[in-house]
Symmetry: C2
Subunit: 179 residues, 2 copies
């Protein structure tokens, strides 16, 4: 499933969801946005949960692709972590929007189960990647450090939104431990 219409639906949905969360995007708004009827969206995604699940899945896949472009091996841990942080920063700077999965995580208890599960995958993927990186660079307690780093990324995004300035993201990132 990957027609042009489907892509446009998901793009519009992402924009709305990353602005106000799960309850902030609707079939009608997406339809109006891309110039079709809301019933046409139901043709591609029977329910809202279906749409959100696919949205979260693609968001994670795209993010993972970028992750995998950072060579985990090689020396210079700090520059790898800096590249990692830049993935979040770019998501923030380009779209002026929060991380989709960060927002979904915050409202996890209000999400349909499939969407929640898909959101968790984003976090597990990030943790795994970080653990791998830290392990390869002989950092002690890689699992624990991975959690702390991911919390730092999502928290920094949240602060940037709170203060309405992506500059605050940079100010809230803390990689000093690995310098």
């Amino acid at each position: 499933m990957s027609s042009d219409t489907v892509d446009r639906i998901l793009k519009s949905a992402e924009s709305q969801a990353r602005t106000g969360g799960y309850n902030a995007f609707s079939f009608r708004e997406i339809a109006k946005d891309i110039g079709i009827k809301s019933s046409s969206i139901h043709y591609h995604f029977p329910t809202k949960a279906d749409l959100a699940t696919e949205l979260t899945k693609r968001y994670t896949e795209k993010f993972t692709q970028h992750l995998e472009m950072i060579d985990v091996g090689g020396k210079d841990l700090i520059s790898k972590l800096s590249d990692y942080a830049d993935l979040f920063y770019e998501a923030l700077r380009t779209d002026q929007k929060m991380c989709l999965c960060g927002l979904f995580a915050a409202e996890a208890d209000a999400l349909p189960d499939e969407v929640k599960a898909q959101t968790q995958k984003f976090f597990k993927t990030n943790i795994s990647w970080l653990e791998d990186l830290l392990t390869k660079h002989d950092v002690p307690s890689p699992e624990s450090e991975a959690m702390k780093l991911l919390a730092n990324m999502e928290g920094a995004m949240l602060l940037a939104k709170a203060f309405e300035s992506e500059k605050h993201f940079k100010g809230a990132i803390d990689l000093s431990k690995f310098e």
Copy 2:
């Protein structure tokens, strides 16, 4: 304004808002929850924005009260910061819910202006308090470190929600720099 009904309205609204954000609480749900009619809520809070503004204001005030119970002076910075983190942890553990202002910050662009402004106050209050604490303990770059600490708190809450376990909060908190 502080009748029993108002308190019950706000308590119910807080529970719903901290679960799914601004669009996840409604006059009808609150009314049903506390056994009155939705029109009665409008009597106390003409608009939803009014309700959310007061909610955010009280949330911040309550949090600030707890903050002020931590003596900023005295020695042992790390135990003060640990107490600080415990404020967030208790909010998470007691209610099994995200920080109200953390969630609101994530969806800031979808909030009425007054609510957004009130949400910012929560963050500014926290930053100020942390700056003060760090300054009193001669920590270099107190403003920058305050941002990093607050990002760590909110990010840790977010991860706890993502993984549906408050244990993950503790695992994501990083105060090692100040030990």
